[in-house]
């Protein structure tokens, strides 16, 4: 669901096809459009764009009320031990059934939630634990919560399973028909196939892409899938899970080692002026306190080692490792507000590297106009992208709305090296780091991206070297030495590329005293004796000169010696759950990680005898659990991290060691997924009185006008999407002759029914209009798109690929000129997969 895998990730799609042809797997595609993926699947169920939570919630309802789920002991054992189904929630919690579509804690203005009522019921806090762990850990030990209360019979009305039962009771096949627009029979086929193919002997997988993320309820759609998989016992097991298909070569790496405003590398939060983050101690206690009973109990080590990597020798215990000199965020500085603030003149200088917001940005016209407000902009790319040329030939220039003479932006275009022309690593969508070697120098003045940032940093450090201003402490003391060894650059014309190896080694982490790489993040310290850029990558450079991302020995299954999967070469996260509560594989067919009671653990008891028992994985898979913690072992109450977790707490990054069916924290829009209509929808919400996500991010500003619910001017639903021949905003495909020729022109998929209503003919031009913009495209009239009947009303949808712009070999209007800036409240992603528009036959400006 939410993915056209055959089109957008075709090589990955070979594997489900292989599962089908070789092993009889059933492939099901639930998607508004009939696509290449649908064509290759056993089942295609069309649902209206934006109705996914109804469909998934109804599967959850179907599963937990089924005879199979209630009678097969597998599900009970998995769910009671590995999820929070049995955990008791605060009696003050009220759900959507009681509050007609919202949860308890909604602020009087309806714009935000306080989540205290979503919390667990807990036993009394433990006594203060034994100290001596470290300056920050000892403080964490003093503020530990009591263990959550549970009811293993799952009968208590406040237990998570009962809350879920009540929450999804109204998500019936009849509701699916009414809201999603598919038949109850089609729905039952999918729900029953999922159920029957999940259990001791079999697992089922759910795969998604941005068809699920680009919504004002994006995070909650994915949570609904994760809940279903946890209920079905499909997490941590081979063939199970929820797989995100991501769209750029290292979009995973750029999330892990975040060039994102809210995150430090390796999922530490950014210091934030809105929180109690006034010192390093405050930062650690605020961030680690609520999660200290998970593996995040090591937060002090991760954080101190990050600051040591940042500021090197200048970072000391006395100066809080330079914490005071590190910036704090003060609000939402993500892409959309960034561009709005740019349009308002707040941002003066802009680095755009390998991204093309003039085409790819939501409400792209507004984003292009923002570029005209800058003092200066640096673009690094291969070709003269639309972002680079906005001042010269954008639609706003051609229409006369903007004139080059009036645009004061000083623009630099710096040519970039291609991947084959530089050394480095990418992290793929499965968390696998893979090295690419340098094959040739880039041409002319083209340089690697790392070259640009490294040399900019060197120049700036030289300019600030003599500054006595304490505000410049951070740049002056930045640890910034990545000079290559002579042998690294010997074969090349360009001699001043930074050493990719030295950067990766710092990301991996090392011992400060001797500079030796850390083999595992278990060796990190909170006393400043280790430095580590991103703790989750530790192990990629386990010893000096060894790069595990460059391992290239494949095998027939997990391939543990091909690249490096973070963390610690664990390809399937939470894989402790691939064994039962006693550590035995659930079945021979699905064995992965298991407890071997006789194996030598490598440790000795106080009498000097070897301690027996450890987790093993014959496939070579990394074990995502404490290596010697026996399944029956009970965690200590006054302890951090692994010491708190018990032998069945497979979900080691969760504060209770359980998969969260109910999210007591971490989400800003509710502890359970509930159906809200897209922000722009042709219909009223038939599930609750609450129309759309009450806390969705909206920016009511000039040029970003929204359509109303069932707006008669904009009655048609539009989804943007991709085709296999182009890559995103087209920078890496529209200039390539082969790809431009294969897919030369913007088109719009229209159903024969809508075409008949509007007088649109196949291959003729259509104009698509929203309150944000107007574009033209060729019509592709096809039965792949069909109108839905939603609660008795006909709803038309159209499909619109978004790869085109005015530059390159394949040119076309910018589809994102139509979309609005409106976003998911948790992660600020935009709602590109569903908004409303109107369509008419003919070209822009009334031409035909």
């Amino acid at each position: 669901m939410g993915s056209n895998m055959a089109e957008c990730h075709p090589v990955a799609f070979r594997w489900p096809l292989k599962a089908k042809t070789d092993h009889g797997a059933v492939l099901m595609h639930v998607d508004p459009r009939f696509t290449r993926t649908s064509a290759a699947c056993d089942v295609h169920v069309p649902i209206r764009a934006g109705s996914d939570i109804v469909f998934l919630g109804a599967i959850i309802n179907h599963v937990i009320n089924s005879r199979r789920w209630n009678e097969d002991p597998f599900y009970r054992e998995y769910v009671v031990n590995y999820t929070n189904a049995a955990t008791l929630v605060n009696p003050d919690f009220k759900g959507t059934e009681e509050l007609d579509g919202v949860f308890s804690g909604l602020a009087p203005d309806g714009k935000s939630y306080a989540n205290a009522s979503w919390s667990y019921q807990r036993n009394p806090a433990p006594g203060k634990g034994k100290g001596g762990l470290g300056p920050f850990s000892d403080l964490l030990l003093q503020q530990l919560p009591g263990r959550p209360k549970t009811d293993p019979t799952m009968q208590d009305p406040h237990c998570v399973l009962q809350i879920i039962k009540r929450h999804y009771a109204r998500y019936t096949p009849a509701l699916v028909e009414k809201v999603c627009g598919c038949s109850p029979e089609q729905f039952i086929k999918v729900a029953q196939t999922m159920l029957e193919n999940s259990g001791r002997e079999k697992t089922a997988n759910i795969t998604y892409a941005v068809g699920w993320t680009q919504h004002t309820v994006g995070v909650q759609i994915i949570r609904a899938a994760a809940m279903l998989q946890a209920l079905l016992g499909n997490i941590g097991r081979p063939g199970g899970g929820v797989l995100a298909l991501r769209g750029h070569a290292t979009i995973q790496g750029s999330t892990d080692i975040a060039t994102l405003y809210h995150s430090l590398p390796a999922y530490l939060n950014m210091p934030d002026g809105r929180k109690k983050h006034d010192s390093l101690k405050d930062f650690i206690l605020t961030e680690a306190g609520p999660v200290a009973t998970s593996y995040w109990g090591n937060y002090p080590k991760f954080a101190v080692s990050y600051f040591k990597a940042q500021f090197g020798a200048a970072a000391t215990a006395e100066n809080d490792y330079g914490y005071d000199y590190h910036p704090k965020i003060t609000g939402d500085h993500s892409h959309m507000p960034m561009m709005l603030d740019m349009g308002a003149g707040k941002i003066k200088g802009f680095f755009v590297m390998g991204q093309n917001p003039a085409v790819g940005g939501q409400n792209a016209r507004l984003q292009r106009k923002a570029l005209a407000k800058l003092d200066w902009m640096v673009v690094r790319d291969y070709f003269e992208t639309e972002t680079a040329s906005f001042w010269r030939n954008s639609p706003e220039i051609l229409s006369g709305e903007l004139k080059p003479a009036d645009i004061k932006t000083e623009v630099f275009f710096l040519p970039a090296a291609a991947v084959a022309e530089m050394e480095g690593s990418f992290t793929n969508t499965q968390r696998l780091l893979q090295q690419h070697d340098k094959a040739a120098d880039p041409p002319g003045d083209a340089r690697s991206d790392s070259w640009f940032t490294y040399h900019l940093g060197k120049r700036l450090q030289a300019m600030y070297r003599d500054s006595g201003n304490p505000l410049d402490w951070g740049i002056r003391n930045l640890a910034w030495d990545y000079e290559p060894e002579a042998k690294e650059v010997a074969p090349w014309r360009i001699k001043d590329e930074p050493s990719a190896y030295r950067v990766l080694k710092e990301i991996n982490g090392y011992t400060v005293a001797d500079g030796k790489p850390l083999a595992t993040f278990a060796n990190l310290k909170e006393d400043g004796t280790t430095a580590c850029g991103a703790w989750i990558y530790t192990g990629v450079v386990p010893e000096e000169g060894k790069n595990n991302a460059a391992r290239r020995k494949p095998d027939e299954w997990i391939s543990p010696n091909w690249g490096f999967a973070w963390p610690a070469n664990r390809h399937i996260m939470y894989n402790r759950a691939s064994a039962d509560s006693q550590g035995r594989p659930w079945s021979e067919a699905k064995k992965l990680v298991m407890w071997d009671p006789d194996a030598d653990s490598g440790t000795k008891d106080p009498a000097g005898n070897p301690v027996r028992g450890k987790w093993i994985a014959p496939s070579g898979e990394g074990i995502d659990f404490q290596p010697t913690k026996a399944p029956a072992m009970v965690g200590k109450d006054a302890a951090l991290g692994f010491d708190w977790l018990s032998g069945n707490d497979a979900f080691i990054m969760r504060a209770d060691g359980k998969a969260w069916l109910f999210a007591p924290a971490g989400l800003v829009d509710g502890p359970l997924p509930a159906h809200y209509e897209p922000y722009e929808s042709p219909v009223a919400n038939r599930v609750y009185r609450q129309q759309s996500n009450p806390v969705a991010k909206v920016w009511r500003t000039e040029g970003n006008v929204y359509h109303g619910v069932a707006d008669p001017k904009y009655p048609i639903v539009v989804s943007t999407y991709r085709v296999t021949e182009h890559h995103l905003s087209g920078t890496m495909s529209r200039w390539l002759p082969w790809l431009a020729e294969l897919m030369p022109e913007l088109f719009c998929e229209v159903s024969p029914e809508l075409a008949a209503e509007k007088g649109i003919r196949n291959a003729g031009y259509v104009t698509i209009v929203t309150a944000r913009g107007e574009i033209e495209a060729r019509a592709l009239v096809t039965r792949r798109i069909k109108p839905f009947v939603i609660d008795g009303k006909k709803v038309h949808e159209i499909g619109l690929p978004w790869h085109w712009g005015w530059q390159g070999n394949a040119k076309g209007d910018v589809a994102n000129d139509l979309s609005a800036m409106v976003g998911d409240p948790n992660v600020s992603i935009h709602e590109g997969k569903v908004f409303t528009c109107d369509i008419r036959a003919g070209r822009k400006g009334g031409r035909s």
């Binding site: 290292t250 979009i251 002026g273 630099f412 991206d449």
Partner: protein, 200 residues
């Protein structure tokens, strides 16, 4: 793995390769025969360097072939990769055109404020000017403190050490190493508008 892989390629080629032709309405294409023929295309010889596809996040292995003069002459799928086993999609298969492309710009271009044209500049001049602008913009717009809401209707003065005048966008197509260096430098300068494609 040989025989089963050939069979596998035959099964899947209709989707990955033949789908394009079918979409364009070119009929009577025997995809199995086309796939067999494609297997006989001579692969250019030279030094082979392992690489990774620059497009989506599947992470297909590639092999870059370099001739005796050190010029990249071919980019193919890496048959050793357990991810793609030598196959590539239309974009991956076109990677060579990303490297060898007449429209690729290999020199620095500069557009002065208000100008209607690009000018050629040296890399050193551009780096020097960019560093100067970065410092100037940061220094003129740096915030040591900011009044933040205290949650009780008032405000509290917080140390923020940031600048709202600089912004950076991009990163999901670049190396992990660049992402690390760039966030490190941006944080050292106080930049908080730091974003990439992972957001959208």
């Amino acid at each position: 793995m040989g025989i089963s892989r050939r069979k596998f390629l035959k099964v899947t080629s209709g989707i990955v390769g033949g789908g394009v032709a079918a979409e364009l309405g070119i009929l009577n294409v025997d995809t199995a025969a086309a796939a067999a023929k494609a297997g006989k295309v001579p692969i250019k010889s030279g030094r082979q360097i392992p690489s990774i596809c620059p497009y989506c996040a599947v992470g297909c292995g590639q092999i870059v072939t370099v001739d005796d003069a050190g010029v990249i002459v071919d980019i193919q799928g890496n048959p050793d990769s357990p991810i793609n086993q030598g196959t590539l999609c239309p974009k991956g298969a076109a990677t060579l055109q990303l490297v060898k492309n007449e429209q690729r710009w290999n020199t620095v271009k500069y557009r002065a404020p208000g100008s209607d044209r690009w000018e050629e500049k040296s890399l050193d001049w551009a780096m020097s000017r960019i560093a100067e602008l970065t410092k100037k913009t940061r220094d003129a717009n740096f915030n040591e403190f900011q009044d933040m809401p205290d949650g009780k209707g008032g405000t509290i003065r917080k140390r923020v050490m940031n600048t709202y005048a600089l912004a950076s966008l991009g990163g999901a197509t670049m190396d992990n190493e660049w992402n690390y260096l760039h966030q490190k430098l941006m944080h050292a300068l106080g930049v908080v508008y730091l974003e990439n494609q992972a957001r959208i």
